[in-house]
Amino acid sequence: MNIFLQYILLGVAILVAYAVLALILIYVERKVCGFFQCRIGPNRVGPWGVFQSVADMVKILLKELVHIDKADHVLFRMASFFVIIGSICTFAALPFARGVQAIDFNVGIFYVLAVSSLGVVGILLAGWSSNSKYSMIGAMRSGAQLISYEISSGLSLMTIVVLSGTMQLSEIVEQQSDLWFIFRGHVPACIAFLCYLISGHAETNRGPFDMPEAESELTSGYHTEYSGIQFGFFYLAEYLNMFIVAAVASTMFLGGWQPLHIPGLDGFNAVMDFIPGIVWFLGKTFFCVFLALWIRWTFPRLRIDQLLSLEWKVLMPICLVNLLLMAVVVIW
């Protein structure tokens, strides 16, 4: 009985953290977007508009779920759950601080990659079951994009797995206690970090890679027909996927919750140890989120063929060569 209570509490904690982080991310996105466009961003609800996303959440909860005629209703309703469950399962595996990790097993990073690509099933289902040409095209583009970019993101994470020799997330973080992998892995780790940021960014369907929901041509892609909280699920999953990609990047390359340690500077290292791990983790993750937002509000959208040739002709060959380079570095 006790263990069940534990599981329920854990589940509630993860769901609450998920929802709260989504609200924070939506606020951060709107504020940062405003600043990039020389605006102020939301500033009406609460001081500096901090409660804007809470108000939006209440609004979206109260909205009607529109019944779509001639849609495949079972799949249509299921699709948004696929997307959000894939995202929550990935979220649960992240190491937030020392010991603050729901599931920690020996194939951690493999699990993260596998479960995060479950979302593409939901997206394809959403596009197909909506019985709408915009949704269909959006979902097809999304499928092509996600499956191709999965390769280079997987390869760049594999580079770090080669360096660390383990796939367990807690072990990977533990190994970075004296020096983060991006510094310890020489050039290949930096290249892998860059490749992971690009491909991870593409996997979240954002920024210059937002082909699946290109507003100007596809209204809003695979979630055109959705309304109310079901649209909210897609929206939530999109933002949390951005967080997850940033969190994985910071765990694998920037040392996760480990403080910044420089070998030889003992005083500096001791000072850094006073900052708790969760602060380090969230700080690094939000740094990566900021990079994603910076890229999103800078570059114009790619065409679908440019998108795929970027992956297959540029990113994947670089990642393969990089993996080889890392193997050479590790052997030496």
Partner: protein, 148 residues
């Protein structure tokens, strides 16, 4: 040769992307000058020539300079101003309908006495059209004579 072009293109495109990122970062760090309207009420200084409302200045003896010549009424393109006088040079009512005013300032520019001018107070919204028509001369006011 082909391989060299591939590398060159890669490096040059990365450089161009970095340039784009630099430009947007400049915009990000630029101070935001958007006016925060209800918050800056009373604090913001508007420039002198900002035309928001027509008024007729009165001095401490409740006297104005309007001679009721009607030049402002004749020059107004919208029929916004209506000047009525009971006797020559005695202003009865100077009616100004802000609802149809385009703030062209032809009235103030042509006024030979400089009796009317524009001020910066711009908050004119009302629920009905009635309060938009304003009488500019105060009740009981009189013409300021040259000797005074």
């Amino acid at each position: 040769m082909v391989r060299q072009n591939y590398i060159l293109r890669l490096v040059s495109s990365l450089w161009h992307l970095a340039q784009g990122l630099y430009i947007t970062m400049l915009n990000f760090l630029r101070p935001k000058v958007t006016e925060q309207y209800p918050e800056n009420r009373g604090k913001h200084i508007y420039f002198e020539r900002f035309r928001a409302e027509l008024i007729m200045p009165h001095d401490e003896n409740n006297q104005h300079r309007c001679t009721a010549c009607g030049i402002c009424q004749m020059n107004c393109p919208n029929g916004t101003i209506r000047v009525t006088s009971s006797a020559p040079r005695i202003l009865d009512r100077h009616l100004y309908d802000i609802g149809s005013c385009t703030f062209c300032a032809l009235c103030t520019q042509t006024c030979p006495q400089r009796a009317i001018e524009f001020t910066n107070s711009f908050e004119h919204s009302t629920f009905t059209k009635g309060p938009l028509v304003k009488q500019l001369n105060r009740p009981g006011s009189s013409l300021k004579t040259a000797s005074e």
